[in-house]
């Protein structure tokens, strides 16, 4: 009897707790306030980047007379300097070329590999899948020194082709992994029907499996594009001449000169370099989240 009484008092003390959880003030304190802090901190560097790129130099370095959080006379001087006095458009073009090239190469390779592993099912196919997955765990920081010598041996040093060929080493494992998951979600019966109707394996891949896997292909594609756009260490180690550099490397090595940093131009360069990925991201945000979470969940 006392036991039951103790339990009921317990429940009684717990009930107001859960009721209080739903009360407005508590909800604001426990959820909205921390969330606001998170968003503020996560976005502040971008705000700072954006506001710096439109500030004239006089305002930029004078906090006493100008409120640093706002611009009183916005200017496009930094962006103009970037686009017309530096090789920035060339860097953008190179980066775009490298990102698109390596994305297509890795999508091609990983679609075929994922199809073979998931649908052609041979002895040891799970181990091949595991091997490709393990390749993802080899970080570029270990590989860049020997890879530099390999690139030199191939005569590809200082060429964007080197990057297109090397980026798939970290793109293919991820894409293959993602696509295996997608192929798995396509009913096997569809392929069997096609086989009965006399389709060849390649016809099945082209006419049945691929059209159904389009969302997976888009996820893998945008992921590859962003990762190649953001890649830094290989691009830094394999590219020497100014014209062939990618945006992240070029800003750091070509724009950071002397002792007085041109913060306006640097931030404008960072902003412009981030915009393509950010735009791309905002167009495909759902695919993004699903591929990111799907890859972890599967």
């Amino acid at each position: 009897m006392t036991d039951v009484a103790a339990q009921s008092t317990n429940a009684a003390s717990a009930t107001p707790d859960t009721m209080a959880w739903d009360s407005r003030a508590r909800r604001v304190m426990m959820i909205y306030l921390p969330l606001a802090c998170f968003v503020l901190i996560l976005l502040f560097p971008f705000y700072w980047m954006a506001i710096t790129s439109f500030k004239p130099n006089a305002e930029l370095l004078n906090y006493k007379q100008h409120n640093p959080f706002w611009i009183s006379s916005p200017t496009l001087a930094h962006i103009k300097h970037l686009l017309f006095d530096t090789a920035y458009p060339t860097w953008l073009k190179t980066t775009m070329f490298v990102a698109i090239g390596s994305t297509f190469l890795s999508l091609f390779a990983s679609t075929l590999a994922a199809y073979a592993i998931e649908r052609l099912r041979f002895r040891g196919s799970p181990y091949v899948g595991l091997g490709i997955y393990l390749a993802y765990l080899v970080p570029p920081s270990i590989l860049f020194i020997p890879l530099a010598t390999v690139i030199v041996q191939f005569g590809l040093f200082d060429s964007p082709m080197a990057l297109i060929l090397v980026y798939p080493t970290f793109l293919v494992p991820f894409c293959t992994w993602l696509l295996i998951g997608y192929f798995k979600s396509i009913p096997y019966e569809l392929e069997e029907c096609a086989l009965v109707d006399g389709a060849t394996r390649l016809q099945i891949l082209r006419r049945i499996t691929l059209p159904l896997a389009v969302p997976g292909l888009i996820s893998a594609g945008i992921f590859s594009f962003t990762l190649s756009w953001n890649e830094f260490i290989y691009a830094l180690a394999f590219i020497q001449s100014g014209a062939n550099k990618t945006v992240p490397v070029a800003i750091l090595t070509e724009l950071v000169t002397g002792d007085v940093y041109q913060w306006g131009a640097l931030m404008a360069g960072s902003l412009l370099g981030s915009l393509p990925v950010a735009l791309f991201y905002s167009l495909f945000v759902d695919y993004y989240v699903s591929s990111l979470t799907g890859a972890v969940k599967e």
Partner: protein
């Protein structure tokens, strides 16, 4: 399987074209499908990995083929205070940054798991630091950490009057170390939060309802339902996070390049400085190879974390 092979042989008979028949021959098709991926990975990943280990035992420099010198590179590193400094900072950086990322990321995931308006928009915004090229956001941090015009110093000195002098973020060793860790945490939170959010959404609400009926407090629900259910995903995400934080390069290279007085070198930046910038490929490779034991340790950690749950595809149905 017998059901599927019979009609395909029928197709082969109807189509005498030998190329079509070859591509319908399963072993050949498997080899053709795997060739591009395996080929790329072998040439640009497995071979360089082996080559890197070999280089670590030679005295190769840029433009000069080295000879085998045994463990000399490693013996030299063992006596090199810079290498020890890099090992120390790599471990320290990884430990503090991973802890920060997971504490804050988990908190953010729990917050995002509630219902409120504009949820999907907020989720999209939160991922931004992870999407934007690291080097470019690192530049923004470099500017935020500027000795003279740092906005943080401005806030503390001129607005809040907490300090009387500007903070020297990157000029002295310890502040520089913590500044880099803060930037790394900032960049890592979104990935952790969104991955963990996916895990949180798979936990059935009925578990929480049952616990609430039993009178569990919010803390008890977190401790005895959320945390155990999240363990498998936590283990995976943490392994990834540890591996990529330990081998981080971009952030340090962009903000401090290892300075001041080499106090913020990670193993990767030290390897770059010696191997590519300094031209001592053999020594750089040795530094890179010295990361491998740490990574193997992290992977084993993940393996044992995962062994309890068969999350990896292929295991469930083979």
């Amino acid at each position: 399987m017998s059901v599927t092979t019979l009609p395909s042989r029928g197709v082969a008979l109807r189509q005498p074209n030998w190329i079509a028949r070859l591509f319908d021959y399963k072993p050949f098709l498997i080899v053709m499908c795997l060739a591009p991926a395996i080929g790329l990975l072998t040439v640009f990943l497995t071979y360089p990995l082996g080559l890197g280990v070999w280089l670590a035992f030679t005295d190769t420099t840029i433009g000069q083929r080295g000879i085998f010198i045994g463990l000399e590179n490693f013996q030299y590193l063992w006596t090199d205070p810079l290498w020890w400094g890099a090992v120390f900072y790599s471990v320290f950086y990884t430990a503090i940054a991973t802890f920060g990322k997971f504490a804050l990321g988990f908190w953010l995931a729990l917050l995002l798991n509630n219902h409120f308006p504009l949820k999907s928009l907020l989720r999209a915004i939160v991922l931004l630091p992870w999407i934007v090229p690291t080097v470019l956001s690192a530049l923004a941090f470099w500017w935020i950490y500027d000795p003279q015009f740092s906005i943080i110093s401005y806030l503390l000195v001129d607005v809040l009057h907490i300090r009387s002098t500007n903070i020297d973020f990157l000029g002295t060793p310890w502040p520089a170390r913590f500044s880099l860790i803060a930037a790394n945490i900032w960049r890592g939170i979104p990935f952790v939060a969104i991955s963990l959010l996916a895990g949180l959404q798979t936990i059935s609400p009925s578990l929480y309802e049952a616990a609430m009926l039993d009178g569990a407090t919010a803390w008890q629900r977190f401790r005895y339902i959320t945390l155990p259910m999240m363990m498998p995903i936590l283990a995976i995400v943490m392994t990834f996070s540890i591996i990529f934080t330990f081998t981080d390069f971009q952030l340090v290279y962009a903000i401090t390049r290892g300075g001041p007085v080499n106090s913020t070198h990670l193993l990767a930046t030290l390897a770059f400085q010696r191997g590519i910038a300094g031209g001592e490929l053999g020594e750089g490779a040795a530094i890179a190879v010295s990361m491998i034991p740490f990574l193997v340790f992290a992977t084993l950690f993940s393996y044992f974390g995962l062994a309890r749950r068969k999350w990896q595809q292929g295991e469930a149905n083979d």
